[in-house]
């Protein structure tokens, strides 16, 4: 490799390729993944995926992910009856599924079933798939032979289930390899040999009649296997087997070429093979586990979408919701008789979108006319289509108009402009300009994919995320956070941060071996302009200018790369494409002294497990000119990989940071809602888990014991917070609380949490007993007159009040954001406009707090932030240009807005007690825009009890922010 740095190497049998490409195969993948990261002398796996224009999008799942998926898939497939491996509870589920499946209704219900449904819906694999190997097959074949044989016109002669058994083999085929590999399509083998690797010699070449020949059509007996082919790699196709069907389509020598040529792109196909029953009956136990690993991995919808599978099916599912994107020409020749000539591009094709397409005249006319009437370009219009309200966003560029229609229930009008602006910017980053993106015919399939992702993310985000991760997607949350011109930042301890930066800087200096110019005496291919590093969707280091960072981040967001990396999903990710960073493209350098070199830019994204590094490269300028459309360069990819591997050492440190208690400590909203209004009720509820309480906690999910555990949890943590407030050092109390709320422990029961909480329960009783009516009265009173006095809902509140403000402040000056004795902070978002980053509590911190009200509260917070930020945005131009030359009194809105707050009231859902009013909790959501000393936007959500000064909070939060 060192000698031949560029250019593909064609090599012989290569186990690495196998592991990468063949998702169905797990025998080989076990060995491959660990080693393939560093393949210095082997052809990289992604080489085959490079497209003609040099672009590369190569995504490979990690092993753990696949296996987890497998286990789930296997469980839900429910074909065989042996489920001894599973715990009791799961076994129940499985049998239930089994029944349902047999009953024919296999969808809806438990998440596992949904999962199943999704697996089953996979394109081109309509029925249950069994990756049966050897002995596994007989049970499967017996249980459901119909699905295999269903397309057969009649009983197949010579096929008897007893002797000749059917097995199904899933292989991954990539027709694109055919183009790249120079292997000539052999005269005899055709696609069967070239693509699949199965050698079949027709009978006439062999000179002797095959006994199974029927009616001139010849059965496809495997006579041989070509090396390094999918067939041999999967290890299940044996010489002598007969290929019966491909994806349930019966094949013979007559039609096999036609069937195989229909495979459009890299995909997985299911081959039905007839084999001569070489059953090794000895190891049934083994085959069971083999079965487990053999079934094809169901990957999440998102990944499959990224792979380009399934788009049609996904798109179909949202077909009834009107949405559209069109790129129209405003310049019209009135004489042109042709219909639809002005449409350069349109997506998707559905009934609702056809209707919207039909009225494109409205959009064109409005765009033309309104500019003259109101003096501003048109931004949006709303229209009613059937029952749906659709917002249409416009973007005019030169003589063309981009129209994006989105359903109002997904995207509020307030945020439509941001959404459209982001899409446009992403497109511009990817293609340079809208015209270049839309007006090239060969871009159409890629744009289809692009907009499919776009609409899927907006309209049904839940389908894309894993079932397990987010129960209810926070639509306004994603809208808000994605819409911020910033990237989510994770603050790291300085020493780790320094190391990360050092490693990145080392890489960026490109001062090593093959990348140095001295090595070959050539100009280097690319100059590294900078790079940024993500860990589990958090930005942890950035060496890019802000605008470039935002460009890169927009791309990542659009392709959902960040959430992908946050779970253990990415085995390997290599993305390469030419980009057009907006700042550089526009030549927008304001300083006349320094002019940007006119070069081409390339984006290289390499992901390994949780790390993802985005590198911006420049060709031209001081590096050599890029000619044509160069593909990714192995040297650079390998160097990034090496960097990431180097960084993996730091993973433990970063994980520690993620597991650490939240830096400004957070409270869970549920702690502030009393379970019941009186002390007696409260005791009752704790003793017998009253309906209210169990409902509160049970609303999350889980069994009754789980919810009970959580409710105790809540109580305990709630009690721990006064303790914390009494302890001397805030940090110690923090650790206590952090471990107490079970950061790494799943929300069920950990063995020692039960006695612990029981003890707390006892302690609670004690305190109530001793405190008597005093304590209960205090807490009851809080909710009646919460607005006026008694800001502290806790028992020790009155005690704390005796401390002076100063003392308490000293106590928590570091860890606590809110003032006052209690920590009343629920959530926050702080955006640094200059750096283009924002910080917010990490997903894990939020998950730790659990609670039933809390997620609701966060959703509400985000929704409110949409409104607040929209108000800020509105007032920005007013501040900039209008303030001076506008006469006072002329309508210019509310004026430049600095701070905006909304007070919310929440009640527990389904409050059953008729006699008493539901307890309520009130909290503020406040947004504050700071222009000094650095422009910041700060959004915070805290309990109503303490009046806060947001400026101070923002300062406290941003102070010492390691940047």
């Amino acid at each position: 490799m060192a000698n031949v740095p560029h250019g593909p190497v064609l090599c012989g049998p290569n186990p690495e390729v196998d592991g990468a490409e063949n998702y169905s195969d797990h025998d080989s993948s076990a060995s491959s993944h660990s080693s393939c990261d560093h393949s210095d002398d082997l052809e990289p796996e992604w080489l085959d995926d490079i497209q003609k224009n040099g672009e590369l999008f190569y995504l490979e799942l990690s092993e753990g992910e696949e296996e987890a998926a497998l286990a789930q898939a296997d469980a839900s497939q429910g074909v065989s009856t042996n489920h001894v491996r599973f715990s009791e509870k799961e076994a129940e589920v499985i049998t239930e599924q089994d029944q349902r499946q047999r009953g024919g209704s296999r969808a809806k219900g438990e998440p596992a079933l949904k999962r199943l449904a999704r697996i089953l819906r996979r394109k081109r694999r309509p029925s249950q798939r069994r990756g049966g190997k050897d002995a596994g097959k007989d049970s499967s074949a017996l249980s459901q032979p119909a699905s295999i044989l269903k397309n057969q016109p009649g009983p197949r002669p010579g096929v008897t289930v007893q002797q000749q058994q059917l097995k199904e083999v899933c292989v991954y085929l990539n027709p694109k390899r055919l183009g790249g590999v120079t292997t000539p399509l052999s005269f005899s083998g055709g696609l069967l040999e070239a693509l699949l690797g199965v050698v079949h010699r027709p009978s006439w070449t062999r000179g002797q009649g095959d006994p199974t020949v029927s009616r001139g059509e010849e059965r496809l007996t495997v006579h041989g296997l070509t090396p390094n082919s999918p067939a041999i790699k999967c290890g299940q196709i044996l010489i002598g087997d007969v290929l019966v069907a491909v994806d349930d389509v019966d094949v013979t020598s007559e039609n096999i070429e036609r069937v195989l040529s229909c495979i459009p792109g890299p995909t997985q196909v299911r081959l039905t093979m007839e084999t001569v029953a070489p059953v090794d009956g000895g190891n049934t136990g083994d085959t069971l586990s083999a079965r487990k690993t053999k079934s094809s991995p169901p990957v999440s919808q998102l990944v499959r979408l990224l792979w380009g599978e399934d788009t049609a099916e996904l798109q179909m599912s949202i077909g009834h919701i009107p949405h559209i994107v069109m790129y129209l020409s405003l310049k019209l020749d009135s004489a042109s008789p042709q219909d639809e000539e002005e449409i350069y591009y349109q997506y998707p094709v559905s009934e609702a979108s056809t209707q919207l397409k039909g009225v494109r005249g409205i959009f064109l006319t409005l765009c033309d006319m309104l500019e003259n009437v109101t003096g501003g370009r048109i931004i949006s219009s709303s229209l009613q289509l059937g029952k749906h309200l659709v917002h249409v966003g416009y973007w005019k560029e030169s003589n063309n108009l981009l129209v994006v229609g989105l359903p109002a229930e997904r995207v509020p009008l307030l945020y439509l402009q941001t959404v459209v602006g982001d899409v446009v910017r992403t497109l511009k980053v990817m293609y340079g300009s809208l015209d270049r993106a839309f007006c090239k015919a060969d871009h159409a399939p890629r744009l289809d994919h692009f907009f499919c992702l776009f609409f899927q993310q907006l309209i049904q985000p839940s389908r894309l995320t894993d079932v397990s991760s987010a129960p209810s997607p926070d639509v306004s949350g994603t809208l808000f956070l994605d819409g911020l011109p910033a990237v989510r930042w994770l603050t790291l301890p300085p020493e780790i941060k320094m190391e990360v930066d050092t490693v990145l800087s080392d890489f960026e200096s490109s001062d090593f071996g093959e990348m140095s110019e001295d090595f070959f005496g050539l100009r280097r291919l690319y100059v590294i302009l900078g790079s940024c590093l993500f860990y589990k969707s958090y930005l942890i280091a950035n060496h890019l200018p802000k605008e470039d960072l935002l460009d890169v981040c927009l791309y990542c967001q659009h392709y959902c790369l960040l959430p992908l990396a946050s779970e253990q999903r990415v085995g390997q990710l290599v993305i390469w494409r030419e980009v057009f960073p907006q700042q550089r493209a526009s030549g927008g350098s304001t300083a006349p002294v320094f002019s940007q070199p006119q070069g081409r830019h390339f984006l290289l994204i390499v992901g390994l497990r949780h790390f993802m590094q985005c590198v911006l490269l420049e060709a031209g300028g001081c590096a050599s000119q890029a000619l044509g459309s160069p593909g990714p360069d192995c040297v650079y990819v390998d160097q990034v990989k090496a960097t990431l591997l180097q960084l993996e050492v730091l993973e433990a440190g970063i994980e520690e940071r993620l597991n650490a208690p939240p830096a400004p400590c957070l409270s869970c909203a549920d702690w502030f809602l009393p379970a019941a209004t009186t002390a007696r009720d409260r005791l009752d509820s704790l003793a017998s888990s009253s309906p209210v309480f169990s409902k509160l906690a049970g609303a999350v999910k889980g069994s009754s014991s789980g919810s009970r555990g959580r409710s105790l949890f809540g109580e305990r943590s709630r009690r721990s917070s006064p303790q914390r407030s009494l302890s001397d050092s805030g940090s110690e109390g923090q650790m206590d609380a952090g471990s107490g709320s079970g950061s790494s422990v799943p929300p069920g029961f950990s063995p020692h949490s039960t006695p612990d909480s029981a003890r707390k329960l006892g302690g609670r009783r004690d305190s109530l007993g001793s405190g008597g009516s005093d304590g209960s009265g205090g807490s009851g009173g809080h909710f009646k007159i919460s607005r006026m006095k008694h800001p502290n809902p806790f028992y020790l509140g009155t005690l704390k009040k005796t401390l002076t403000e100063r003392e308490t402040e000293e106590m928590y000056n570091t860890m606590k954001l809110t003032s006052g004795a209690e920590n009343t902070l629920f959530h926050y978002v702080l955006m640094e406009t200059v750096q283009g980053i924002f910080i917010a509590p990490t997903h894990r911190e939020v998950a730790q707090l659990s609670g039933s009200i809390h997620p609701q509260l966060i959703r509400n917070f985000h929704h409110c932030c949409l409104s607040i930020r929209a108000a800020f945005q509105q007032s920005l131009p007013a501040r900039g240009r209008r303030a001076a030359d506008r006469p006072q009194g002329a309508g210019w809105g509310l004026g430049p807005l600095k701070e905006h707050g909304v007070l919310f009231q929440c009640k527990p859902e389904n409050w059953t007690d008729q006699r008493k009013p539901a307890p309520t909790m009130t909290y503020w959501v406040i947004g504050r825009m700071l222009l000094e000393p650095v422009p910041q936007e700060f959004y915070v959500c805290f309990h109503d009890s303490v009046a806060e000064v947001p400026v101070e909070m923002a300062f406290r939060l941003s102070f010492g922010l390691a940047l």
């Binding site: 009225v359 064109l364 309104l370 219009s381 059937g386 809105g893 430049p896």
Partner: protein, 561 residues
């Protein structure tokens, strides 16, 4: 007076000079060549040269809709091309000695040619006077609407015949009206109902069809830069429609037989509609809130009794007493009218009393109560600024009120404060709007601060505007409106056209505040009241809430509002 007008004139001159200085200059020879070339190119289409053929005669009766009959794509220029497309070039003299030559071709208001003839005395200064290149000057005409002004267009829904246009001093050209109507109609044919549009700088267009007979379009120029403009325009359209019903009755509007007659009849609504559009009288927020602007008299019982008695004597159940255009007392039945009707009736009375007559008898239809049967609205002026009115079948003398003159004078003395002096407002309240959500009444006032403070407080007019904006902002974003009672199902479905941001909240918003450079504002909602307050920036932010709650409790305690 003269100095100030002088100042204005000077300012104008400076502005104009600035503008002229910023114009990109080209040599006159070049501009002339451009013009000449253009004229030659378009000579064939110039009616001045070729004459007007009968088929393209712009003065034929309009047939706008025929262009939308064909389905499928609607190319912009067809949609925008009403019959008068080739109107002759038109000379328009601008104020400042420039002449614009422009053509409404294709209805797109594209400015085809433009000559700016500078005054001759410039000649001696510069040997070759600089002229604006033809299309640069499009900026001059670009904004057909002034900032913040609102245009109202009314057309018949079926045929698109314009009934009237009101608002902004300069009328929208007919092609614009035609295409505004056209796009909506075209969409309707395709099953898509266009409801609103937004442009940069806050310009808005809102469409609404009432009873399948009348199409109302509101166009507001940019400038207010507030996204909430749409809510205001929607409300405006509803009010305008109700005004038309109030004056003409629903039958007249839905069964249009003679459009020309309807056009004539509609003229009688103009004063009311203009009142809605211009919001001439400061401090009347009823149009916006749909809550009757009220005035809390010092002695409510006395006046209430008198109004009740008077209405009874007039053989009516509906009677009310207005002071400064706000309701001081009304019979119970009056309050039971739909809130919008109460607001509109107040508006009618205000416009009647503005005419200066001592008493009048005016037939009205109630848009919700009796859209087809007319009632008589009798109005008597008791004192200047005090009116009493009944909806009645018979009339009665005003001597009923002579013993109450003193009480009425007290009411008058309240002026714009709306509240008896017994209510002590905190000194740091600039303006307030208090709404009783049950009775749909509102009280509002802006207090004038005689003392000049260091950062100048917003003027009174600005305070009113801010109050309105605050109301619109809060009510569209946070505080939902429940007006189910006065909204017919048909209208509710139409209102579904506008998205409800409020519904997105999982928890209920109770209060909100915002801090701007000018002032601080606070909105508060309880089960019964909504209170909106403006306070000077000097009030600390954390004190806003206590000021607001205290103000609310003070007013409610003192007046029982």
């Amino acid at each position: 007076m003269s100095s100030s007008s002088n100042l204005v004139a000077m300012k104008k001159v400076v502005q104009q000079l600035r503008f002229e200085a910023s114009i990109n200059r080209v040599k006159v020879s070049q501009a002339a060549a451009d013009l000449q070339q253009f004229c030659l190119q378009n000579a064939l289409q110039d009616p001045l040269l070729t004459g007007v053929s009968s088929s393209t005669n712009p003065f034929r009766p309009q047939k706008v809709c025929s262009f939308f009959a064909s389905s499928g794509a609607l190319p912009s220029h067809i949609a925008a091309r009403p019959a008068e497309c080739n109107r002759p070039l038109r000379l328009r003299r601008m104020n400042h000695g420039t002449t614009l030559l422009w053509n409404r071709r294709c209805g797109q208001l594209g400015l085809l040619g433009c000559v700016v003839l500078t005054e001759l005395r410039r000649h001696d200064a510069t040997p070759e006077p600089a002229l604006a290149p033809p299309l640069v000057a499009a900026n001059i005409l670009e904004m057909m609407l002034q900032d913040g002004s609102t245009h109202l267009l009314c057309l018949t829904a079926s045929s698109g015949v314009p009934l009237f246009t009101r608002g902004a001093p300069r009328q929208l050209p007919f092609p614009v009206i035609g295409s505004l109507n056209g796009v909506h109609m075209f969409g309707g044919g395709q099953g898509v109902v266009l409801s609103s549009c937004e442009t940069e700088g806050g310009g808005k267009v809102v469409w609404r069809v009432f009873r399948d007979s009348v199409m109302l379009i509101a166009v507001s120029g940019g400038g207010s830069s507030s996204k909430e403009e749409e809510a205001r325009l929607q409300r405006l359209l509803e009010d305008v429609w109700s005004c038309m019903v109030l004056v003409l009755g629903q039958d007249e509007l839905t069964n249009m037989r003679n459009v020309e007659r309807l056009k004539r009849d509609l003229r009688s609504c103009f004063s009311l509609i203009d009142q809605l559009l211009e919001e001439r009288q400061q401090g009347i927020l009823g149009n916006l809130t749909h809550c009757a602007d009220s005035l809390l008299p010092p002695n409510p019982a006395l006046l209430q009794q008198a109004v009740d008695g008077f209405a009874q004597a007039a053989d009516s159940e509906f009677g009310c007493l207005l002071v400064h255009g706000r309701i001081a007392a009304a019979t119970e039945k009056w309050w039971r009218l739909a809130p919008q009707e109460v607001v509109l009736l107040s508006a009618v009375i205000r416009s009647l009393s503005a005419s200066g007559s001592a008493s009048c008898d005016y037939p009205v239809f109630l848009p919700h109560g009796s859209p087809t049967v007319a009632h008589r609205l009798l109005r008597f002026q008791l004192l200047p600024g005090v009116d009493v009115c009944v909806l009645a079948e018979s009339e009665l003398v005003g001597l009923f009120w002579s013993p109450l003159v003193e009480a009425l004078r007290d009411c008058l003395a309240l002026g714009k404060r709306c509240m008896p002096t017994s209510v002590s407002l905190r000194p740091d309240v600039l303006a307030l709007l208090l709404i009783n959500r049950d009775t749909r009444r509102s009280v509002s006032c802006v207090r004038t601060h005689p003392l000049p403070s260091d950062p100048p407080l917003p003027s009174e007019a600005r305070c009113w505007e801010l109050l309105k904006l605050l109301y619109i902002f809060s009510s569209t974003r946070y505080f939902s409106q429940e007006e189910a009672l006065c909204v017919s199902p048909e209208e509710r479905s139409q209102r579904g056209n506008t998205e409800d941001f409020v519904l997105g909240f999982s928890h209920q918003p109770l209060q909100c505040y915002s801090v701007t450079d000018e002032c601080k504002s606070y909105g508060l909602q309880t089960a019964q009241h909504q209170l909106f307050l403006l306070m000077p920036p000097s009030v600390p932010t954390f004190a806003l809430r206590s000021v607001a709650t205290q103000t609310l409790s003070d007013i409610v305690a003192a007046t029982g509002f």
